[in-house]
């Protein structure tokens, strides 16, 4: 193993020479970054854009006051006729209204497959791309729970919605070692004649409640 390692590293060094660490850092910091990195829209416009983008990906979006989250959750679950919902540890109890909520205890993949619905919160929303960022944190849980069930209800405080991808990545800098998933609308494919089809393996249905 080590021989292949030495051979490859040596080939690289022969190919392009080596530089002292200081020169590497200097070269790195001279990389031009002139792209847009801060928001240019008002809060209101950012939230509108986020909603639009989510709808563009066929997600349902409900923008409600934070006091109305619980009643919205109950109404959405009733409309979808959902009685049993998987939730991660650490999800606020006051949101868990209108169905039976079962906390993930590290279910096996087969056990997870028995759940049709999952409810979580998220770390961030990115408006320009309609992206929701999930991390292995309380209230969001491990990656598998937002993957196997067919329906995902995500509750996101409006304060966590940013305008640009760059802003989002800056915020995530603090937790960059955590397992992180960006999802932008439900799972989709365009492999057959470039026709977009929702839901190949991930959740086919996604609802988002934005709490103002």
């Amino acid at each position: 193993m080590s021989t292949a390692r030495e051979v490859i590293l040596n080939r690289i060094r022969v190919a392009k020479g080596t530089s002292p660490a200081e020169a590497v850092n200097q070269s790195y910091s001279s990389i031009q970054r002139d792209y847009q990195s801060v928001a240019s829209f008002s809060r209101e416009k950012i939230l509108h854009l986020f909603e639009d983008r989510l709808r563009d990906y066929d997600a349902n979006v409900y923008c409600v006051d934070s006091q109305q989250v619980a009643s919205t959750v109950a109404a959405v679950l009733r409309d979808r006729n959902i009685q049993r919902v998987l939730v991660p540890e650490g999800l606020p109890a006051e949101w868990q209204v209108g169905a039976e909520f079962i906390v993930d205890r590290g279910f096996t993949p087969t056990e997870l497959d028995q759940f049709t619905s999952v409810m979580t919160t998220a770390t961030l929303g990115i408006a320009e791309t309609g992206t929701i960022v999930l991390q292995t944190l309380p209230g969001q849980g491990r990656r598998a729970i937002t993957l196997v069930p067919d329906y995902h209800l995500c509750i996101l405080p409006a304060s966590k919605v940013v305008e640009t991808v760059v802003e989002g990545m800056h915020i995530l800098e603090a937790t960059k070692n955590l397992p992180t998933t960006f999802f932008s609308g439900p799972s989709a494919t365009a492999d057959i004649e470039m026709t977009r089809i929702k839901g190949v393996h991930g959740p086919r249905f996604v609802d988002v409640v934005i709490a103002l």
Binding site: R13, K16, Y35, I126, A144, P186, A188, I192, E193, H201
Partner: protein, 489 residues
């Protein structure tokens, strides 16, 4: 389910393969349709980004910097990934990478693996190696599944089955999945794949992937995808083995901010791909508890050693150059004889593998520059193509016709006297071939066109030009002659 993989060592030359494929009207129609759709979506979403050119420039610099200090960042990645509980392996070539992966799977006592679409594992023919060792590999990307079940070959980096239409896919699925009543709507087909694969996702304990980026700073891996099959493979199994080209490493987490904006817009014409996954090594209670990364050289260090060819390694595998290429759009991917098709394949394959394809792939291009224009990391593909053509001519020796012709031209161009003499000689030599008739060439006025005339046939090697195009005859009077006369008057 064994199939013969695309292998530049045994594939016919590009020109031979292209000639056959140009006769397949269905394939050309399918490829044309798919590339048209992606290009239209891409154009719209690129126009939406006011800072697109700035993003491209940053990404180019990030990638060039990473390659310039590849050893530093690979070691940093190895350190951090190992600290996070993963195991790093190094593989000099395809054979070594195959044996590492097969060894790991056997050590686990497994006889099947699920796979995320990965061009790198296609490059090293991993599925065949697994099969030879009695291990079944299930492709889980819809397009890769179509190809695997149809015993076919990938023809595009991003949408490998774009050469198949829904009726063809339906036939493949009906047979392979034993579904006689399967419909032919794309939704029916996707649903069949969902059901076919779900059981495998839940059962198989070992997964094999590639990676879009390795992040040195965090020992992190990034995989972007659309369907969620990637997440299934990298989240549910107990073990994940990722085979990654050494060029995929980037320095820091924050570098992703440019790259994840460029990749989905360029690849599939989306603002963001439906799923992006980032993680470092093992996270207790979440995802595979054993993780291996195989860092693959397989010719990459040779590309790195060539200062002019090195930029090829900046590629982030978005496939935009394929969709834009007028040559690829006519032939599809199989003509390139390698899993990397289109303009990027035309420069990557001959550099990774020194063989007959080096002779033909650099010529599989019209040098129109469309690939350079769309490349999100600004790889100057036409420049590298010309560089490779130059190498081909060098390999063929000074007495090859192209080399001789260029030497003669250089000799003439170096002296004004020789140049003028050649012009006079040319006018005399061409005179029997020039047709003095009305041209249909639109931008010349008819009188001018009649005066200058056209050449429709040239003898010998030169006929390569006039077989498909007319050549305008040399003017009676050159600009220099006219200028000198004007000064005297």
């Amino acid at each position: 389910m064994s199939r013969v993989p695309l292998d530049p060592r045994t594939a016919p030359t590009f020109q031979q393969a292209a000639k056959t494929l140009l006769g397949d009207a269905q394939l050309r129609k399918n490829v044309r349709h798919a590339t048209d759709v992606i290009q239209a979506k891409r154009r719209k979403l690129v126009e939406e980004k006011q800072d697109w050119q700035q993003l491209r420039e940053s990404a180019r610099q990030i990638r060039a910097h990473s390659l310039q200090h590849l050893d530093v960042y690979l070691e940093e990645f190895e350190r951090n990934f190992t600290r996070a509980g993963g195991v790093v392996h190094w593989a000099r070539d395809a054979r070594e990478a195959q044996s590492i992966v097969v060894g790991l799977v056997k050590q686990l006592g497994a006889n099947e693996v699920i796979k995320i679409k990965s061009m790198t594992t296609e490059e090293i023919h991993l599925n065949n190696a697994l099969e030879e060792s009695g291990i079944r590999a299930y492709e889980t990307d819809l397009a890769e599944l179509i190809i695997q079940l149809g015993e076919d070959q990938p023809s595009h980096i991003v949408v490998p089955a774009l050469h198949k239409n829904r009726a063809q896919i339906r036939e493949i699925f009906r047979k392979a999945m034993d579904l006689p009543d399967l419909g032919d709507k794309p939704a029916d087909l996707a649903d069949a794949a969902r059901r076919f694969l779900r059981e495998k996702f839940l059962r198989v304990k070992t997964a094999v992937s590639g990676a879009n980026f390795l992040i040195a700073e965090t020992g992190g891996i990034c995989i972007v995808e659309s369907e969620g099959n990637g997440r299934m493979c990298l989240t549910l199994p107990e073990t994940l083995i990722s085979v990654v080209g050494i060029e995929k490493v980037i320095p820091r987490w924050s570098d992703l901010e440019a790259l994840v904006q460029l990749l989905p817009r360029s690849a599939t014409g989306e603002r963001m791909n439906p799923y992006s996954s980032f993680w470092s090594g093992i996270h207790p209670g979440d995802g595979p508890q054993t993780m291996h990364v195989v860092l693959l050289d397989n010719g990459r260090t040779d590309v790195l050693a060539d200062a002019e060819g090195r930029q090829t390694l900046q590629c982030i595998r978005c496939g935009a150059c394929q969709n834009a290429c007028p040559v690829y759009r006519q032939t599809g991917g199989h003509a390139y004889g390698s899993v990397y098709a289109g303009p990027i394949g035309a420069i990557l394959t001959p550099q990774l593998m020194h063989m007959d394809h080096s002779q033909t792939l650099p010529y599989a291009s019209s040098l129109c520059g469309a690939c350079y224009e769309v490349c999100p990391v600004k790889i100057n593909i036409p420049e590298v193509l010309i560089h490779l053509r130059n190498k081909v001519v060098e390999q063929n020796g000074w007495y090859a016709p192209e080399s001789l012709a260029m030497k003669a031209v250089a000799f003439v161009f170096r002296s004004e006297r020789r140049f003028r003499a050649a012009q006079r000689l040319g006018r005399i030599a061409e005179s029997p071939l020039v047709k003095r008739e009305k041209s249909t060439f639109p931008i010349l006025d008819q009188e001018e066109a009649t005066k200058s005339g056209w050449i429709g046939w040239l003898p010998g090697l030169l006929g390569g030009w006039t077989d498909t195009r007319d050549l305008q005859a040399m003017p009676k009077e050159t600009f220099r002659d006219w200028w000198e006369k004007r000064g005297k008057a």
